[in-house]
Symmetry: C2
Subunit: 310 residues, 2 copies
Amino acid sequence: MSEILAGDKRAIARAITAVEDSNVEASRLLKELFPHTGKALIVGITGAPGAGKSTLVDRLSALYRSRGERTAIVAVDPSSPFTGGAILGDRIRMQAMATDPGIFIRSMAARGHLGGLARATADAVAILDAAGYNNVIIETVGVGQDEVDIVKTADVTVVVLVPGMGDDIQAIKAGIMEIGDVFAINKADREGVLRTEKELQTLLQISERSDGWVPLIVRTVATEEKGIDELASGIDRYREFVSSNPARFEARRSSVARARIIELLRDKLLLAARAKGVTDEYLDGAARMVSDKTKDPYSVVDEVISRLGL
Amino acid sequence: MSEILAGDKRAIARAITAVEDSNVEASRLLKELFPHTGKALIVGITGAPGAGKSTLVDRLSALYRSRGERTAIVAVDPSSPFTGGAILGDRIRMQAMATDPGIFIRSMAARGHLGGLARATADAVAILDAAGYNNVIIETVGVGQDEVDIVKTADVTVVVLVPGMGDDIQAIKAGIMEIGDVFAINKADREGVLRTEKELQTLLQISERSDGWVPLIVRTVATEEKGIDELASGIDRYREFVSSNPARFEARRSSVARARIIELLRDKLLLAARAKGVTDEYLDGAARMVSDKTKDPYSVVDEVISRLGL
């Protein structure tokens, strides 16, 4: 543990692998690290594929570095349940930034059908927080429920859009609009930026937030390092807004903690069931019966639940 | 139950609402309906927002209708956990198609933090299958893990792309490439269709499938009803490929059943825990302790698990 608190990159990487594997060791470590967490600014960045999130995250990290802040990036790819590894772009980024001791980059992907990616990501963030990174950026690929769950554990959430995504704004609006504290319209040198901005403003006006915050809209061109200062100050402004009111601050912290507990519980319940006889062999056998139609899946699960005494 | 088997739309709609609420009634009904399932062709359609999936699904349904087949559409929006309702487009579609007794359209959205959308969707599909729809199309918004889980319960999966999505193909390739049995390049009248097709072919060549199937690529322009025949016959061809080999057919069925059991289990475990004292009040109290740092989330969950005797 002391190595992690001292910021040893290799120890941190090992610990993150342990939480991905969700072993007993990891659980003990996380309990020990918990009192050391809560200092980092945790920024969630989400948006449709192709919006340029990775470049934006790189630029934002560089800005934080120029302020002398240590920054960790956790790139989460829930749509990659099979490869279990880093996406191509991250490998390139890792090479470029790996030499900077104040930068840590890690890719996380779903390991299999039983993995709790949101839980593992939150655990990894806790490790990086305890390790003394001033900022931890969670970058997600995709816009599904899993991504929403993941960014829900961040202090600030940035949603990235690109001009001409009219259809997309329609498609993703419901869930995403409500989790975005700051909106970055990236590739803002493209045609249609004004229209996208106006559509976004209209949508934000309709969906009033319970905390009274009016989400900020920032134009960026990440490839040309434009608008990154504005993005960083947008993030800071939301943080100040939350911190300025103790009740509001407490409400946000509690809701993050609640989301965290539920993710952990969902994961640990399944692990506990696995340990109590719901093995791969059992699942394979049950699946065969269901596909043979000799048994229905609801009865299979009812039996498991009652055998577990629940 | 007889009303559902007779295809009564109102009874079907009520049953789907019951499975969304996950009540005891629903569980009993699903067990009774199970022997009547397994006849429908279940088609999963996924892809990035803005790819034109809804229009493509509408055109495909119209084609199935012209063959005299009854068709149900289940539109799933995991990125919409807050509104809990239909997305705008679906409301419009419902009006247009609601008059056709051979078409059934239903939107499903995550109801809250504890909802199992993949499980509820699979249950809804089972109801529609038992109700005698020849085809059930599951349409997802977004490209996250949840979407992958959802389409994994389909007989055939169609991934929809659009020209010029180079970045997106990179971003979504890992998970999506492996679940796509048929790829539709929609809006194929746009510039860049050839390049997208070539990139896709290259990616498909790299990722060889264990079942030996080489995914088909179809060009469509859904708004002009182009390529819909080709899409439908691509779907049929994959079905024939699977059915032509009993071992292969059995393997696919089993893997669908296994995914189904795990989704159900994940959901029911949490519900069982909720019934055994993990109430909203309990969660709120625990969240406060975690955010106060008087307790760590791992210990909270360990206590719950041990109190449940797991």
